[in-house]
Amino acid sequence: MDGPLPLVLIYASLAFAVVVLVYVALARTPDWGLLGFAGLIEAGTLVLLVIAGVQVGNADLSGGATVTLFGYLLAGLVVLPIGFVWSLAERSRGATAVLAVTGLTQAFVIVRTLQVWS
């Protein structure tokens, strides 16, 4: 958890949200590029979950903090897929904007994960 991965994920999620807002402004519908970007963030989050699982034994966390930590990491795994399902069911600017909400939520989840860890 001390490596650059959490920060990279936070900035990538924020960048994803910004790209989505550009799509909304241009009235573009989500494409494979956007899906691939989200896929990378999702894969990174999965790696973070594995790292946390390996390192949690050596970390000085209370029981409650451990539950909270993995709660956030699991939320980080489901937020993007649920957001895409909800967004892609409709073609409209509002539906595309759902992905911006998803990206910001993802960034927030990783920030909270880092806060709980340290």
Binding site: G64, V67, G71, A75, V79, W86, S87, S92, V98, A100
Partner: protein
Amino acid sequence: MSSTRSGAGRALVAVYGVFALAATARSLVQLATKADEAPLAYALSALAALVYVAATLGLAEVGPAPRRLAWAAVGFELVGVLTVGTLTVLDPELFPDQTVWSAYGAGYGWLPLVLPFVGLAWLWRTRPRG
């Protein structure tokens, strides 16, 4: 009549969904790990979680009378954030632990205060006419 879950409503449902998920998870952790520390604050957290879940389902048009459910939930949310916000500003000691509505939701970027106004405006805008 317009759908509450179409167009901009789709993004609104997403925001409500995030709040429902976050408030429910937070409330479950609080009740499971330290329920006796601040029973009033944690009961309030659980109530807020229920309200967000109900608002999400109503706006997403799930269930038999979703519009009525959404009006009730978002209306309750507005009353809740104004009441709890005012009480916590007047007497910060009232709730020993933070709730989502404490200080009008300042700890959550004021979103808990803004959200019910947006929700009510959206319900009004998409109201059935005829």
